[in-house]
Symmetry: C2
Subunit: 167 residues, 2 copies
DNA sequence: TTTAATTTTCATTATTTACTGAAAGTTCAA
DNA sequence: TTGAACTTTCAGTAAATAATGAAAATTAAA
């Protein structure tokens, strides 16, 4: 397989993969493109490589910056803005985890706490409902712990080693 | 807050939450409804409670069954089919994890393996590309390990205990 | 068997989500 | 301080996704 074909396939598949996880296709593709670009690239480069409009590129790059996955770089002597993605895949993963936790898991846990405050907690129906809500909260906290552990495992050889024992 | 309001809010939020994770809103809502239903319910019950069409209910329930989250039950003396969801939230979580692994992570890892087979592996560009691909593969395997661990932790008090140490 | 109850399918329609491109905004060299 | 280079915004449009509902298929009681 030719390198260029492999790159193209990587970009396409990354896009498709993202879609399944609620990330828009183009955003995932731009991220993929940046991940495999050896040098910083401009909005125009992205437009050309992915055949998409300027507005689309601009908005999605901004989102990627918001996710902490991409940053602007200044190339001296150049007027245009250039962009790069962090190539450390582990950092990418932990960044995504952190953001999704903050944006989605935390609000969900907060909501579940509110739902715990119902009248007539002793009704049979109410009890069952409260059990489900409380179990989901516990699961959320558990996931939280495990995600933190995942982050720590990368930074800490000891933890990483202990985890491997159970593998 | 009234129990009925809380239930309704739970269903709506669960739907919204699902959307963010690439699960269609209605499917998530039906799952939520089943999670908090004390007795088995029919397609007609779902239609009424969520104000959606018969076809919609039918297709989404079938999907939920495909995910291993819902099952048909027969109520003796009744012609209609009834449905229930597993209320054990931990089982729900591990089931979703298993399915997403099988449907998404595994194919992605397979693809990445294929992308490793490029010509001219010694080109500078090629090397960088291969590094990214290989790193993502490693991350995938790592996630795999951790997800398995998450499943085991529920079944095994010892593992669960060790994990808590690092918390 | 018949036939009425129930489930399933899927072409059509509706909704949601994403993209375009031109206009407005910003920046900075001259 | 002008204006060319570049970035950002967003109304309108396109594409993707989900829902409807009526017809076909299936099931099982009579």
């Amino acid at each position: 397989m030719k390198l260029e074909d492999a790159k193209q396939q990587f970009i396409n598949s990354w896009g498709a993969f993202g879609t399944q996880w609620g990330i828009n296709r183009t955003m995932a593709q731009i991220h993929a493109l940046l991940l495999i670009s050896t040098a910083p690239i401009t909005q125009d480069d992205v437009m050309e490589q992915l055949s998409i409009s300027r507005g689309n590129v601009n908005m999605n790059i901004r989102d990627l910056i918001g996710w902490g996955l991409v940053e602007r770089v200044i190339v001296s002597g150049e007027r245009k803005e250039y962009f790069i993605a962090d190539k450390n895949i582990w950092k990418v993963a932990t960044q995504i985890i952190k953001e999704r936790k903050k944006r989605e898991l935390d609000p969900m846990l907060k909501l579940l706490s509110q739902l715990g405050n119902i009248d007539d907690k002793k009704e049979k129906d109410a009890k069952e409902f409260l059990t489900v809500v409380s179990d989901i909260k516990k699961l959320g906290s558990h996931a939280d712990t495990l995600l933190d552990l995942m982050v720590k495992a990368e930074e800490n050889k000891f933890i990483s080693g202990v985890l491997k024992i159970f593998n």
